[in-house]
């Protein structure tokens, strides 16, 4: 059942957001995109904090926004909960009173609102911190209080703006796992705005990727990671991506560089392969790899346990190699090497 049906159009002087969005009950959708893509604008429009220029927001069959027929519902009358990026916990209220704030405004008596808040804090494992002011909470605790505060109003639509961005790497890991659990229990629709692909892949059932105010790709994690459609998405999921003209098992990319691919294709296609598929050799390699070309090392960076080498050449690619290989091949910027990719590791799919 579709809970949220929206078409968000917001125009500013030099920017236009135009994003259709549908979320089912219990579904978690991640709105993913680079900085300035319009993610936060979309979230604010859904919450009613920024008016739509056109389009509509329909929640649970009820129109909240429809500029075409001059309809607009004030923020405080929407069944929408928001977890803000830096949480915005009221600094003068205890954790308990922060969570009780929403239920109290929705008409609960003070005692009932506080009981409800205590219940939510218990679910978040924060009972011991109920009396603390926000400035005496750690980042992870503040994040959970913010989540409890947003969920305590039983929103039909839960919005999370970069919920983990303010946390350090270690806390983020634990908090992400907990967030996953709590989002799974939320019966309404959830929209997660993030620029972190890992957050999106772990927390969301479906990804909507926007660039420059428009949806560039949409689908579940498997579909998006297997077949990226823009450079941004390719970088996000860590793939080398090229667009070119396919003919049989050959795709001509860049300045007419022939790339042998596994799939049989024709017409305009994307060709993608992971950095781990790129092998580097000091001399022109003899062997089974169908794609070989001379390249120049542009940079070498850490990437987990491996090193990521960026290569200039007929096509710019990233290659993941072991530290041992870097030492052995003396890979420093400016060094000339041969790159090789097996055709079976290059996936091609229509544009």
């Amino acid at each position: 059942m579709t809970v949220l049906d929206a078409h968000l159009v917001v125009e500013r002087e030099t920017f236009r957001l135009d994003v259709p969005l549908r979320i089912a009950a219990g579904e978690v959708v991640a709105l993913l995109g680079p900085n300035g893509a319009g993610k936060t604008t979309a979230l604010r429009a859904l919450a009613g904090l920024r008016p739509l220029t056109a389009g509509h927001v329909t929640l649970d069959g009820l129109d909240l926004d429809r500029p075409g027929s001059r309809l607009w519902t004030p923020v405080e009358r929407r069944r929408v909960g928001v977890v803000f990026q830096d949480y915005l916990l009221f600094p003068h209220l205890s954790a308990l009173d922060n969570v009780a704030f929403g239920p109290r405004r929705r008409g609960l008596a003070k005692r009932d609102a506080r009981a409800k808040a205590a219940d939510w804090l218990k679910r978040m494992d924060l009972t011991d911190y109920a009396a603390r002011k926000p400035r005496h909470l750690s980042g992870g605790q503040a994040q959970r209080v913010a989540l409890a505060r947003a969920l305590a109003v039983e929103p039909t639509l839960l919005l999370l703006d970069e919920p983990l961005a303010a946390l350090d790497a270690r806390t983020r890991l634990d908090t992400r796992t907990e967030l996953h659990t709590h989002l799974g229990e939320h019966a309404g629709a959830t929209l997660l705005v993030t620029h972190d692909p890992l957050d999106a892949l772990i927390l969301a059932d479906r990804l909507v990727i926007i660039e420059d105010g428009r949806v560039v790709q949409e689908g579940d994690a498997a579909a998006v990671t297997a077949r990226p459609r823009t450079d941004y998405v390719a970088r996000l999921v860590g793939l080398n991506l090229f667009r070119g003209h396919g003919d049989g098992h050959d795709v001509r990319v860049g300045a007419d560089f022939p790339l042998a691919v596994a799939d049989r294709v024709s017409g305009e296609v994307f060709a993608a392969f992971p950095p781990s598929a790129v092998a580097l050799h000091p001399e022109r390699p003899e062997g089974s790899a169908r794609n070989t070309w001379p390249a120049t090392v542009a940079s070498v960076q850490h990437n987990g346990d491996n090193l990521r080498v960026r290569l200039d050449g007929p096509i710019p690619v990233a290659a993941d190699v072991t530290p041992a290989a870097v030492a052995q091949l003396r890979l420093v910027p400016g060094r000339e090497v041969w790159a090789a990719v097996k055709a079976t590791q290059v996936r091609a799919y229509p544009v």
């Binding site: 004030p74 915005l88 600094p91």
Partner: protein
């Protein structure tokens, strides 16, 4: 291992550098700074030096002193309450709502700051005087007269002191993160509830600072008060008015009254500053 020698090297290097910086204050800045401080402090020191310390207890016990002091504190406090009730919403309007002519309104709010208080008193007489635009109506409709009454003192003081409060509170509202108000709205709070439950507590230190400034200004108010409310002991004669009157007849009495005013201002300002103003 490598941290030890580097610490040993950096410690003696850092200390003299700090000392050298302290010694480098330019004379061109130091001299006027000291002179400025003297200008502010010397008159107060003079007051203390010339105070008739031996007869002080007897003079303080004179009924006129306590009456004037009581009236001053009372009217200044009431004027501050009036300013809070009217000025905080005005500051909110200026800080949070966009309306046409906002710049003009903000300029009008600050006019009493630059207006000579005597002129303010005359203007108040023209409006609230018994023959004034509003005063005549107040008199005929309700039998209320403001000039030359204690209420008139409060009105004159509020007129002069309100800009201090409005400017301080508006500044605090602008500095406060308005996204807390957005967060309150997403939790179902309307604008009034948001104002009372979130905005007011957030800017409480700013309001306190504004109220203190406002109170101090009201306590020292002279020009508008004497013009609009006159100088009747027990009714409209506040401390500054009593000081001015005493100056013509009895210099020592004027010094004593000034001293009292000075002590009251300093004690209350210092007390409030520690409690509210300095905390972030």
């Amino acid at each position: 291992m490598s941290a030890d020698p580097s610490a040993a090297v950096s410690a003696p290097v850092r200390a003299p550098r700090r000392r050298r910086r302290a010694g480098r204050v330019p004379v061109a800045l130091l001299v006027p700074a000291v002179l400025g401080l003297l200008l502010l402090v010397l008159p107060l020191a003079g007051l203390l030096v010339r105070a008739p310390w031996t007869t002080l207890p007897r003079r303080l016990a004179e009924p006129g002193v306590l009456t004037a002091l009581g009236l001053s504190v009372q009217t200044a406090t009431m004027a501050t309450v009036v300013c809070l009730v009217l000025g905080v919403p005005l500051a909110w309007l200026l800080a949070r709502v966009d309306f046409p002519g906002k710049r003009v309104v903000r300029a009008l709010v600050t006019v009493p700051l630059v207006l000579p208080p005597v002129v303010g008193g005359v203007a108040l007489l023209l409006v609230f005087g018994r023959k004034g635009i509003l005063g005549a109506w107040l008199d005929s409709a309700f039998g209320i007269t403001l000039p030359f009454t204690t209420a008139g003192v409060v009105l004159a003081e509020a007129f002069v002191a309100m800009p201090f409060l409005v400017i301080a509170v508006e500044g605090a509202l602008r500095a406060a993160d308005s996204r807390y108000e957005e967060a309150a709205a997403t939790l179902g709070a309307g604008r009034w509830t948001t104002f009372t439950r979130v905005t007011l507590p957030l800017v409480a230190p700013g309001i306190a600072a504004g109220a203190v400034l406002c109170w101090a200004r009201a306590l020292g108010e002279f020009g508008a008060t004497i013009t609009f409310a006159g100088n009747f002991p027990g009714r409209t004669q506040t401390m500054p008015l009593a000081v001015y009157l005493a100056l013509e007849t009895d210099l020592e009495a004027a010094i004593v009254l000034s001293l009292v005013l000075l002590v009251v201002s300093v004690v209350i300002l210092a007390g409030l500053r520690d409690r509210w103003i300095s905390s972030p």
